[in-house]
Amino acid sequence: MKISQKDVEHVARLARLTIAAEELETLTGQMDAILGYVDKLNELDTEAIEPMAHAVPMANAFRADEVKPAMGIERALQNAPVSGDECFTVPKVIE
């Protein structure tokens, strides 16, 4: 096995997901199969190869720092599950 149920639980915590106990075994098996498959990349020697982050080679895309109209607070908040006082409302972070 390339990945254990314990690893999967750890990754779930990093991804802010909870995996139901009954799904854990299936998911671990599927992830293991995918990781087994992608191992084939190791057949290639890529020591001297530059990684490619984008399809079009481009350096930083700079623009002038100008003030432009934005969508406005009301619009920005219209989809918030909970909001108040022109802010997004979140559960208490610090007790």
Binding site: A15, I19, L35, K40, T46, M52, V56
Partner: protein
């Protein structure tokens, strides 16, 4: 009124000559959608009121003689495009009630050209899937066979055109999500070069791969839709500032003297025999049209699925971190604090395939595994791009199948995600390389299912690719067949 056999150009002529109004056309289109969508499930949202308002405005423009490229033409878009004051669900429960506060740039362009947007189309959740089955509202059905998938992820975009619900649609293509459903539904679908079309306002899946692309019933309409949406956008720093040619202008240029390459890695043993026959016949057609056919090699093809899925999943895990129940989307909260709220929201809001990809991507980016998986995949991506670069020194275009099989049965691969990923083998490499590609109908299987032919063009050579597609379409009549609903 029956409009299903009209092209965009024919509709335009009828609108301009006042033989038809946009309101009439839009009404007929909405009726067709209502009459057929129980069977197809191609639409997530139908925008009747908005569409009729836009159609009435289009009629005024037309009456004043101010018609633009798409004035009065009803179209629809994948539910991944933000459309002002209309729901954009991305096929996900987590965005079920999300109402877009702005228009994507491509939507702005369609509106400025007078298009009437009649609705938002079904799709695999967050564009992750090859079958349309990963949609929160259920699979869209293949118009040719209700037991089969239409392909994915732009399932509704292809099914709606094939079924004559609308004349053209927009989809997105990250690993084949426009071309593969177009192939499975027997319509024309095009993935432009990375950077050709703005992605501002398009919900992100894998940002180094995603590209917006049109679906239409024929090559000319596809070219027209590409002309409508292509171009640099200051709001998308990855769009490329190079001139957009008029894709309709030299469509009839033909392929005489062109060199078309057949990458031998795409003509494998596992290829469905009907697809092999159809593609071989297409090669013969191109030969008769005066193209020179040569065998070429893209040696790293076999590594593209592995490289692609690592990159796409890693980018997805990062892009989808924004669905946290705070700024938009649904929130699930058990009053146990912030982290718990994130976990509950995401676990309840995402479907299985999206969770699987977030998990895989998080793993591939996590400490200790980054070099082995993500970085390795990016290096292999360089090799894949170099393959294309080398091949385009020898030929003008590439010709391949779109998918190894015709549309498969619903449920056939849902238990085996890896098998589903492998079905994208012929479409994925062009997303990794960033080049343009398209699918055009080239035949039918013994069971009467459409088969698509893929043309792959050099970066920013969409015009030349469309000319080759047009030449094939003129020489054949595969796009004229329509499914019986």
């Amino acid at each position: 009124m029956k409009f299903q056999n009209l092209t965009i150009q024919e509709m335009r002529q009828k609108l301009i000559s006042a033989e038809l109004t946009s309101v009439e056309l839009t009404r007929a289109c909405l009726e067709r959608i209502k009459a057929t969508d129980d069977r197809l499930n191609a639409f997530i949202t139908i925008c009747e009121k908005e569409a009729l308002t836009a159609a009435a405005a289009a009629d005024q423009q037309l009456a004043a003689g101010n018609g633009a490229l798409l004035t009065g033409i009803p179209v629809a878009v994948k539910d991944i495009f933000n459309t002002l004051d209309v729901r954009t669900t991305c096929g996900s429960k987590i965005l079920n009630d999300y109402v877009s506060p702005y228009d994507a740039t491509t939507i702005t362009k369609l509106r400025e050209l007078g298009a009437v947007i009649v609705g938002k189309l079904n799709m695999d959740e967050f564009a992750m899937g090859s079958s349309g089955e990963n949609s929160a509202v259920g699979v869209a059905y293949n118009p040719w066979d209700p037991q089969r998938v239409p392909g994915g992820s732009s399932s509704g975009s292809a099914a709606a055109v094939a079924a004559g619900q609308v004349v053209a649609t927009l989809g997105t293509d990250t690993g084949g999500s426009v071309r593969q459903p177009a192939s499975h539904c027997g319509v024309v679908g095009l993935k432009p070069t990375y950077g050709r079309v703005s992605r501002y306002g398009v919900v992100a899946f894998a940002s180094s791969l995603d590209q917006v692309g049109p679906v239409a019933g024929n090559v000319e309409d596809c070219a027209l839709m590409l002309s409508a949406v292509a171009g640099y956008d200051p709001a998308d720093s990855t769009s490329v500032d190079c001139p957009v040619p008029d894709y309709l202008e030299n469509l009839t240029a033909g392929v005489a003297g062109k060199k078309i390459g057949l990458p031998k890695e795409y003509f494998i043993d596992g290829l469905d025999p009907d697809i092999k026959t159809a593609v071989n016949a297409a090669i013969e057609t191109y030969r008769q049209l005066g193209a020179e056919i040569v065998e070429v090699s893209l040696p790293h093809t076999d590594y593209s699925v592995a490289s692609y899925y690592l990159i796409a999943m890693a980018e997805a895990s990062s892009n989808l971190a924004r669905y946290d129940g705070v700024r938009f989307g649904r929130r699930q909260d058990g009053n146990k604090g912030l982290i718990e709220m994130y976990q509950q929201t995401r676990s309840a809001g995402f479907g299985d395939e999206v969770k699987r990809r977030i998990m895989m991507g998080t793993y591939a980016l996590s400490s200790g595994y980054y070099d082995a998986y993500y970085l390795k995949a990016q290096k292999v991506r360089t090799l894949i791009r170099q393959d294309f670069h080398a091949v385009f020194e020898q030929v003008d275009l590439l010709l391949t199948p779109v998918a190894p099989t015709p549309a498969f049965k619903i449920g056939a691969m849902t238990d085996d995600p890896l098998q589903m990923y492998l079905s994208d083998i012929f479409t994925i490499p062009t997303n990794l390389a960033g080049t343009c590609a398209m699918s055009i109908p080239c035949g039918f299987s013994g069971e009467g299912l459409p088969i698509g032919l893929q043309l792959i063009g050099q970066p920013f050579a969409e015009a030349e690719m469309l000319q080759a597609a047009y030449a094939f379409e003129q020489a054949t009549d595969w796009n004229k067949r329509v499914p019986e609903l």
